[in-house]
Symmetry: C2
Subunit: 191 residues, 2 copies
DNA sequence: GTCTATAGGGCGATAGAC
DNA sequence: GTCTATCGCCCTATAGAC
């Protein structure tokens, strides 16, 4: 038998999310979390930089996105590449986990501290994408713009999907948001 | 003579920004700020919800943006309306204050806590714009998308402008970012 | 693991403006 | 008198230092 129970990090995450759901983020202290997980306060802060971070600790999207960009064929136009990635993630990572994602978004919406950290995570993803594009030789401004558009597109689609109880798949929301964005930017344009 | 010196809020803001520039955000305590402004800690928290908030307290953009949307001719297409607003703000509010804005952005970049709050302020602006559009009868999804695109466009242009020491005006960066966004979304599209 | 600085909020007292 | 802003001391919890 191991000296410490395994998966300390995961036990902390699970305990934290349970408590956040039960009594809210503010009303849950780090002491409450570590008590339920059976470790000390110090251990919590060795795994997570702060109380908000534990809530987002499972997020694999930036890593997956970076891998997808790096692995894509060299001649893919930047947006097409991201679009394929969005569809893959929508079907494989988001759609099967709809209940947890909707629950998490509900907590984020009603807790300003979590909302801020969520926005930071979006900014992190934008930066990962920008760097990935630049490493593929894409011009710096274009890399930044594609990344910005992709993150905004994903975010808007996720909002619609989470608020929509008709069962419309995330991919359909992505399509709709993409079409709307293209329409918006075409106004007054030439061609 | 009044019992209290006037403009407590503004004195606190000025003292805070001075100290943030002198020794950094983390290294400045609320006690430092109130000492310089000549009030007590409790008074600080009556004016500002937290230490980050004092840094952004002068931001008038959401109010101006809401007023512009409300005052625009009823038949303006949503994006055209925002585009006019962006050009007006760029010339009237941003360009004349380049030094302060660049200095503020520098602080925001190197301080994660300020970065998070800055992203929250962008989200607030997005929401103000969305609401403004919806009040003009724009469809909810379209309102959300136009607002998202406009905020992302402004943010990307501001980044380029602040990093660019050749004196290129913000309006030119806005044009460039807009063109790049349109290009990105046209890839693979019909027409 | 314990200790401490700091953020941030609760509450009542106080002192001017009106 | 009412209203409003400040003060001053209370407290807890976070987060980092030792």
């Amino acid at each position: 038998m191991a000296r410490w129970a395994p998966d300390t990090r995961e036990r902390l995450r699970a305990a934290a999310v349970e408590l956040f759901v039960e009594r809210g983020f503010e009303a849950t202290t780090v002491s409450d979390i570590v008590e339920r997980a059976g470790v000390t306060r110090r251990t919590f802060f060795r795994h997570f930089a702060d109380k908000r971070e534990v809530f987002f600790s499972g997020d694999e999207i930036p890593r997956l996105a970076a891998a997808m960009i790096a692995a894509a064929p060299a001649d893919s136009p930047p947006f097409d590449l991201a679009w394929t990635g969005l569809r893959t993630l929508a079907a494989g990572r988001f759609e099967p986990r709809r209940p947890e994602i909707v629950a998490a978004r509900r907590l984020i919406e009603l807790e300003p501290a979590l909302r801020e950290r969520d926005l930071q995570k979006q900014a992190d993803l934008r930066e990962v994408l920008t760097d990935g594009y630049r490493e593929r030789g894409i011009d710096a401004l274009r890399a930044r713009i594609v990344a910005g558009v992709v993150v905004e597109l994903l975010q808007a689609a996720l909002e619609q999907w989470a608020a929509d109880d008709t069962g419309t798949p995330l991919i359909d929301h992505l399509e709709r948001v993409r079409a709307e964005m293209a329409l918006v930017l075409d106004v007054g344009g030439p061609r």
